[in-house]
Symmetry: C2
Subunit: 304 residues, 2 copies
């Protein structure tokens, strides 16, 4: 008998390499890495980890490689009691890995390795995992897999949120129409929401009639805007940002935590802003994660 879960996150679990160099080498030359740190990442896992810390019973479905077994990442998910029964394990390949290289001018180069995540496409819908959950969050990951998981979740009347994030370019207009039709909440940053609307040739009102009645646009330091029957503007909770990476994912976790607790959209946005303000204070997407009490306290102090 499987335990009921509040939130199932579907999409990437990844290893992030944050690398600093003086300059990017030309072909056929070498450079020394000045600093290199590895972090736990992947948008779906980021949401699951923060949601779990905020008190949601979370589960996570990602495709991971042999290097995940026995890793500190696996230990961390276990410690947070995140259900990983339906993880797709591809022992002969690697867990998705992101390399972010930054030079002295703060220019960046990104390398992404999909690895095990190439298996999403052919993987069956995780029926039990979806049935066990109250809500399903579709994060970065394979569009085909996200679409079919979303459809099954819709048929079973789950609350569905969708955040294509940096994988947005992988979605055709039809893919987007398919997923948007069955989701309740769409998350995206300013650029992503614009790009989605252009791709499906709709305005925000049309989109809300077509699919997600709630559209949440996150704007980094400029806060966020929640489109529902009204437009709600939420300030960012300003902190000295060390590393903005993961702020968006933690916002989503904070929002969903409050939403599932039946709070108002304004409250959801404010708590979400507070949660993400913790994440930007430290390097990595899953570091300095607050619990609910910490997030509420900071929210109450800030939005007085």
């Amino acid at each position: 008998m499987r335990e009921k879960r509040d939130l199932l996150s579907i999409g990437h679990t990844a290893f992030d390499y944050i690398i600093q160099v003086n300059e990017f080498p030309l072909p056929n030359s070498a450079t020394t890495i000045n600093k290199m740190r590895t972090f736990h990442g992947g948008a779906a896992a980021n949401v699951a980890v923060v949601a779990s810390s905020l008190g949601l019973k979370s589960s996570l479905i990602s495709a991971v490689g042999g290097d995940f077994l026995g890793s500190t990442y696996q230990d961390q998910l276990k410690n947070l009691k995140i259900n990983v029964d339906d993880m797709i394990l591809v022992e002969e390949d690697k867990t998705p890995t992101a390399f972010v290289l930054t030079d002295e001018n703060d220019d960046q180069i990104f390398y992404f390795y999909w690895g095990a995540a190439t298996r999403f496409k052919e993987s069956p819908v995780p029926i039990e995992g979806i049935l066990d959950a109250q809500a399903v969050h579709l994060a970065t990951g394979d569009p085909t897999f996200n679409c079919k998981c979303g459809k099954f979740a819709r048929e079973n009347e789950k609350l569905i949120s969708f955040d294509p994030g940096q994988d947005l370019h992988m979605y055709s207009s039809q893919d987007l129409l398919d997923v948007l039709q069955i989701c309740d909440i769409l998350f995206g940053n300013h650029h992503e929401i614009d790009r989605i609307l252009k791709s499906i040739n709709m305005g925000i009102g049309e989109l809300q009639d077509y699919g997600p009645s709630i559209v949440v646009e996150t704007r980094g330091r400029k806060g966020s805007v929640i489109y529902s029957t009204e437009k709600i503007v939420i300030d960012a909770v300003e902190r000295d940002p060390t590393d903005p990476t993961g702020a968006g994912d933690s916002y989503r976790a904070g929002f969903l935590k409050s939403f599932l607790a039946g709070e108002s959209l304004e409250y959801c946005g404010k708590l979400a802003s507070s949660v993400s303000s913790f994440i930007v204070e430290a390097e990595g997407c899953q570091t300095n994660v607050p619990n609910l009490e910490m997030a509420e306290k900071r929210m109450e102090g800030y939005f007085k």
Copy 2:
């Protein structure tokens, strides 16, 4: 009571990432990694692993990070009974890591992270590790640490071989003079030997009078040349090369195994060529490693 060892290798133990992309991204853009594999590497470890497979009681002194603990690399060294009692562990940093990126045109970019190996410089001479060994091989690694280990080994009448390899550019002319003065065997490829001679402004004969009476120049597919009281030319044992990486290190291990067994220099070179022919047949520096019987059998078949 510590067990006597045949060969102590000093220098890098590293993780190697072999990465294939379509093209190298421009600053502020992203690219997908088509293929990524990780291998055990680092020149000192490569020599220790192959030497151990060939039957030498080996020990290894490298600076490794927290990621080394519990890794498959640690397991492998343990399985090969390589003594790692004197390893320098820097838990808060990473094991040295090399990223080798290759694009569709076979152009390459190299990134190196020294990580834990920055600690070599300030580490004390591993007195017991050196005293316990019959021979000491100084591989890629920190010049200062290599110099002081070499001097102590000389004072204690150890056989010393030296292979600065890709770290050659880190040695000043004085560093080179210091190490060359106390070593018995110098290993290098064609370019490295040329560069060393230029740096110290000597011819090969002068170098042999000054320090290493034996200079071994490896030339990839063109075989190797051993300079001693005579010049011995050894053919490469030709195999269809899958990956030349690690060939040089395995040659050194094969050479030292035979040398410590009292074989002639010609025999040492032939066995070394045979050993390296196994390594080039598979990807990685520590894969397809032969035992002594396999290496001898192939040598005997080839040099008939």
